[in-house]
Each structure stands twice: as structure tokens, then as C-alpha cells.
């Protein structure tokens, strides 16, 4: 119990420190009124707008107001859209979630078979080619690859739409693209673009896992028992090499959701990343702050849960903390 409280306090500390850093950092960028107001406005109107937005107050007063609101679950109202920042972000969250899930799915579907093949034949031509190609996935900039996808598949070949989300279907009050054929065709390129880096990561993890597991005694024993090679790979090996892959993908999922910014910008995908970029351009402070705070909350929560699971799985962790 002491361990849980300890971790919880640490998490809250991180959130508090980040709140200060984020707020002060965003405050330092510039004056939002310069970006929002029409140049035709005169001084009187500019001053009225500054007061209306509460920007005339000193930094500490604005910060206290923000903290007070945050404790009640209100992270401020967007200057640009006059809507609660949290609502704006949550409204766009499904689009990003859908994109991130599709990307992770692609990474697993493509990455694991390729990784296993490369692991089984580390010195073969196929294995080496897979590893060489996976370096491209790591090193090519997402923005450039995204543009190339659009140029090839949308502009030159005309197979897939270039940008946007396409038709959506409303399920439980949320719009989803993956339920319509048109939506799926819109989803494919951005998801592939986002999946590229993760695919390379999965290939590497799967390859390393395969190479490690393949030398284990139980694999030798399974083979000695006369089981078919397919069964050895699919049942005995795959199950064991998946552990590190799942762990890493779980942690990576958070970053895919939070930082799909580039892909969303290139493909005009109406998710939270695109919202973040336009909020930075217009200095829509409440949205930037709310976005970063929600991201911090997401990561702190993931880490907290992981810590708890470790403690449950491994009694040594608990004992060390108690000592």
C-alpha cells in the first residue's frame, strides 16, 4: 500500500511540475491577441480583447486561475473557437485513435512475420534484405515519405484519395472512418505512413526475440519430439518471443497517439495532432496547455499502471521500496 501511495505522489509531482513548465513556456511565446485580432482593430479594441481574454492579469494570477479550473476538470476555453479546450480535444480524439490503432495493427501484421523470417535465417539473402529495408523505415523522414505516398498512390496512380477522412459512420455518438469503404481508403495511406517507423521497430524486436528463443532447450526438445517445424514456430516460439514485442508496443502506443502530428498534417487528417499544430500557429494557449497536460496525464497513468503491474509480478520490487 505504501508503495502505491509513493508512486501516486510521484505521479502527481510530475503533473504539477509539468503544469508550471507548460504554462510558463507557452506564456513566453508571444501575445495571442496579435495572432487572433484583425489588424484593422484600433488600440481601444485591442485592449478590450486583452481584458476579455484575461491576458491583462499577471502571470501568477493567470496560472492560479488555470490551476483552480484544472482541479475542477476545466482546462480553459479556446481563444480561437470559444469552446472548452478539453471538449475540442476529445472531439478529435477518435480520429487519432483510429489512425493510431490502424498503424499499430499494420506494424504487427507486417513486422512480426518479417521479423520471424529474418530471425530464422539471419544470414540468408531474405533475412538480410528485410533488415536493410527496415533501416529505411527508421531513417526516412515521415513528412517526406507521406508526400511521396500522396504523389505516387494519389496523384500518379490515382488509386487512393490524397487527404482527409472520407465518409464517416456515427457509432455511439462518435464518428469512425474504418466502417465505410470510402473511409478505409482514406485511412490506408496515413496509417501506412505512421506505421512505417513502428514496423521497423517490430521487425527488429521480433528478430531478436526469435534468435533468442530458437536456442532455448524447449525448442530443441519440441523438435526432438518430432513436431513439425510449423508447429514449433507458431506455437512454441511465437508465444515466447511476443512478450517483449507486446511490452514495447504498449508503451509506444501512447507516443503514436500523442505525436501523430506530422502524419496528420500531411494527410489533413482531422485529429488532435492537426489541432495542436493550428493551435500553436494561432497561439491558442488554452488548447496547447490542455493538450500537453492531457498527454502528461496519459503517460503518467501508463507508467503508474506499469509500475503496479511490475510490483504485482515481481515481489522484489515491493520489498526494495519498503526497505
Amino acid at each position: 500500500m505504501g508503495y502505491v501511495i509513493n508512486r501516486l505522489m510521484q505521479g502527481l509531482m510530475v503533473i504539477a511540475v509539468m503544469a508550471v513548465l507548460v504554462f510558463v513556456g507557452v506564456y513566453a511565446i508571444g501575445n495571442p491577441v496579435d495572432m487572433l485580432i484583425s489588424p484593422e482593430a484600433d488600440q481601444a479594441e485591442i485592449e478590450a480583447t486583452i481584458i476579455r481574454m484575461g491576458l491583462d492579469k499577471p502571470l501568477w494570477e493567470q496560472f492560479l486561475g488555470f490551476v483552480g479550473g484544472a482541479l475542477r476538470g476545466d482546462l480553459g476555453t479556446s481563444f480561437m473557437y470559444n469552446e472548452p479546450a478539453v471538449r475540442l480535444i476529445l472531439a478529435r480524439f477518435p480520429a487519432t485513435l483510429e489512425l493510431a490503432l490502424a498503424a499499430i495493427l499494420m506494424a504487427v501484421a507486417v513486422g512480426i512475420p518479417l521479423g520471424v523470417i529474418a530471425g530464422l535465417r539471419p544470414n540468408g539473402v531474405v533475412g538480410r534484405s528485410i533488415m536493410t529495408v527496415s533501416i529505411l523505415g527508421f531513417s526516412l523522414p515521415t513528412f517526406w515519405v507521406g508526400m511521396m505516398f500522396i504523389m505516387v498512390f494519389a496523384v500518379s496512380l490515382g488509386w487512393l484519395p490524397s487527404t482527409g477522412r472520407g465518409e464517416t459512420v456515427e457509432v455511439l455518438g462518435v464518428r469512425w472512418s474504418f466502417l465505410t469503404a470510402n473511409g478505409l481508403s482514406h485511412l490506408f495511406l496515413p496509417a501506412l505512413n505512421l506505421a512505417l517507423f513502428k514496423t521497423s521497430l517490430v521487425i527488429r524486436l521480433a528478430r531478436a526475440g526469435t534468435r533468442e528463443v530458437i536456442t532455448q532447450d524447449y525448442i530443441k526438445f519440441a523438435r526432438a519430439k518430432g513436431l513439425s517445424e510449423t508447429r514449433v514456430i507458431l506455437v512454441h516460439m511465437l508465444k515466447n518471443m511476443m512478450i517483449p514485442v507486446v511490452t514495447v508496443l504498449g508503451l509506444e502506443f501512447g507516443s503514436v497517439v500523442a505525436f501523430a502530428v506530422v502524419t496528420e498534417t500531411v494527410f489533413a487528417w482531422p485529429g488532435i495532432g492537426k489541432l495542436l499544430i493550428s493551435s500553436i500557429v494561432h497561439l491558442d494557449r488554452p488548447v496547447i496547455v490542455a493538450y500537453l497536460m492531457l498527454t502528461v496525464l496519459l503517460f503518467v497513468t501508463i507508467n503508474f499502471v506499469v509500475d503496479l503491474i511490475y510490483a504485482i509480478l515481481d515481489p522484489r520490487v515491493r520489498r526494495k521500496e519498503a526497505a
Binding site: 484600433d42 480583447t49 476579455r52 490515382g158 482527409g164
Partner: protein, 534 residues
Amino acid sequence: MRNLLIGTTALMMGLAAGAAHAADLKVGLSAEPSALDPHYHNLVPNNAMAKHAFNTLVEQDANQRLGAGLATSWKALDDTTWEFKLRPGVKFHDGTPFTAKDVVFSICRVPKVPNSPSAFTIYMKSIESMETPDDMTVVMKTATPYPLLPTDISTIQIVAANTGTLNGPLVFKKDGCTGVESYPSTEDFNSGKAMNGTGPFKFKEFVKGDRTVMVKNPDYWGEKAAWDTVTFRPIAADGPRVAALLAGDVDFIENPPSQDLPRLKGDKKVHVVDGLSNRVIYVAINSGSAVHPGLKGVDKNPLADPKVRKALSLAIDRKAIAAKIMNGQAEPAGQTISPGLFGHNPDLKPDAFDAKEAQKLLAEAGYPKGFEVTLGTPNDRYMNDEKVAQAIAQFWTRVGVKTNVDATTASVFFSRRGKQEFAAFLAGWGAGTGEASSPLKSLVACRNKEKGYGTTNYTDYCNAAMDATLDQALATIDDAKREKLLQTAMAQVAADTGIIPIHFEKTPWAMKANLTYVPRVDQQTMAQYIRPAK
């Protein structure tokens, strides 16, 4: 049962075919409106979007000249009284007839929009009182002679009075109208509930960040739109927006980047139009302060000397900038208002490039060895802004004024400019009113909060003679006389190089080869003016 199924299928196929034949248009926008509420945010994307569903009493044409809108005519009864005759037979989208009450309601709502980031109050605060002698007449009074009232009124969209709740006779009062219980909220417009206008399109759908859909208003009072359905999609990144056009996902895009224009113009499937905008790109130079940290190698401010300012202007090769850096998407400027707009002075030509004369003037002013200056510029606000600043820096350095460029993102640039951190800076000005008093008042008039002068004059330039002419112009109702006065004021600024105009930006639009668009000075994209090519 089976017959029914076949029948339904046939019907659906028929519908699908019908939909394919209907005239649909998809437009790629470079910026999304922040709301559909026409009184919420005075910003180009918002104003352009509002004009699809709403109208104004006085409308600005492609050259921002005023013309009849929901008012068929207007005139000044005396220096402070304006009468607007309304257009009879106009109906709102819900069928309600348009009357003077809607005009009063709309103007009353302007100061009542909560949390507006850029309010339209600047366009109605000159109105002292408003009366409606009959349903088709509105009479407005101003405190002092104010010739720009029709121009100001041309920015306020008319919404239906039935979108709010009235609780008595609606009476305009300067400090808050009476007779209104509640106005529609910004959210009511975004959801479509209050999207009851008189415009050529009706609201269908608004999904923030993804699309705005409008359908044709078949009962529109003016020229009807050529499209049954228009879908606007925000594609902020330049490359993907061009790609969306080339891939056929959209039919029409605004603001294709200038470096893609040669390619687009060479493509047979694409039609590109461009036209001069109301935006001037200028360099402002600090002439007001005695010393400035942005200047080095001098113990006083050399920019206070008109000769030095003239030298800096002569040192710039505007033609080379327009041709090489702007790819022809600009026209050299000798004043701050574009040709064709009200108050442009045809006698003021752009300063011709003359490095020798510039050096001579610098020597005469006592700076034969020049000095050092920092030129501030945004790097993501205007077309090729940083590259233009770099070019100017090199031209200045060539005549002996060593120039460093300090380029930052727009939000940082504007904040620093507001603190007067730059001795010289490059920026742009779009004349929102489409006439010369806009740049004169904001950019070069002496800073004066009471008069609303010099709001963007961050260089403390002050020319009392010009201010006097401007005062006089802004109190002259007669259009011809006012235009003369504005031209004189323009010449007075040019005479002592109060500001260095660089060029007027041209605005491009790209579309499928079978479409046309008349370029608009105000840079707005409006689907009712996108037409099939003949």
C-alpha cells in the same frame, strides 16, 4: 418481397446516378474558419465562409468597390445621416421575409458575441442611433461626419431576427439594444441551428477540422450558384493541398505556393488565375526614436533623416524581387494601397533601383561608410517573407548599410514588433476596407489612441501635415473630394519616405481546367463565384 427488393435497388441505383450528375464542388482551403458565426471572428477565412450563407447591406465586389446587397441604394441625407433602402422580396433560408428588423437585430448582436477574439464592433461603433421609418428603410446617424459608414456596414452580415428571442419592440441603443431577450450563440451557428441567412448557399454540415458542406439556395435573390453542393476542406499544408487538386480529390484550391505555380500552369488539366491583392508588403523604419538597439555603428538614429530613408528605398531592386523571389506573384509598389483601389495615387511610381544615388544620399546625410541595422521579419506569414527580407538585406549591405536579418515565426515576430524591438521590419498590410485610409491610418499616421491612429505604426513615424490631410479626408462625405485628399496624403508620406513599400502580392487560385474564378482583391474564396468555364 423480391419485387420490392429489386424495386428498392433500382431506386437506389437511380439515386446514385442522379447524385453523380448533380453539380458538386470540392474546395481545398488553406485555413479553416474558427466558427460559422458571422459576427464572431473578423478574419479572412471566417468572412469568406460567412458570405456563402449570409449577405450584407452593402457588398464589396472583386475590387472591393461597394455595390448593392441587401440594400438596393443608400445615400447621405446630410453629413451625419445615412439612409439605406432595403431590397424587397428577399427571403431567409427558412422562408421568413427580410425586413429592417433583421438589420437592427444583426447590428445589435455584434457587441453581444461572447469571447469574440476579434470583434466586429470596430465597424458599428460610429453608429449613434438607428431608426426604421418603415420595413424597407433603415436610417443611421453618426456623431460626426463619417464617410466610411457604408464601407463599415459592408462587413456586417445580416442574420435573421428570429434566430434570437425578442421580448418587446426592438430598439437600437448605442449602449445596448432593448427588446432582445437573447441572441443566438456562436455554438448555435456552428451546429446549424442559427444558420438562417439570405445568402446563395444553405448550411448543411460543419465538422470542425474536416469539412463544411453547403447546398444551393434555389430561391436566392441574386445570381444563383452553379453548384448543388459545395464541400470545403481545410488542407493547411501547401504541398498536400496542391496534391489533392492534382489527384482530383478537390476541384479548386486557394493559395497554391508560388514555387508550384510554374508546374501547375504547365499542366493542361489545371487552370490557374491570379490577381493583385489589397496587401502591400512594406519595410517600416524607425524614424521616431533618438537611438535604437537595432542600430550599430552610430551614436544617433540615422533613420530619422529622410535622405537615409530615401537611400534605403532606392537601394532595393523591386523588379528583381518580384521576378526572381516572388516568381512574378508580385508587383513593385510605390505606395501602400494597390492600384485600382480607392485612394491609389497613380502619380506615385515605385522607386527605381539606383545604388549610386543611394550611396550619394547616404554620404550627403553624413554616413559615407554606412551603419549596421537589424531587419526583423516573420518567416511564415507572407509569401516568401524571409527570402524577400534576405534580398533586401543584401541590397542594403551593397550600398554600405550592413544588414542582419532576424527572422522568427509570426507569433514571436508580432510580439517583438509590438515591443518595438526592431529598428526596421518587413511586414504586410491588407486594406480590409479596400481604400487608402486603412493603411494610412494604421501604418503611418502618428500614434494616437483616442483617434485610433497609428495602431501598427511601431516605428514612431509622424508627419503632422499628412495627419491633417487624413483627418480632413475622414470627415469628407463626397467621394471624389475624399479620394483626392487620400491621394494627397499618400504623396505626403512618399515625399519623406515615411515607409518603404516593396510590392503588392498577387493572389493565385488553382482549379480544374473546366472551372473559372475572378481573382478577388480581398483574397477571399467564394464558391458562388466559381463557375464552369464556357
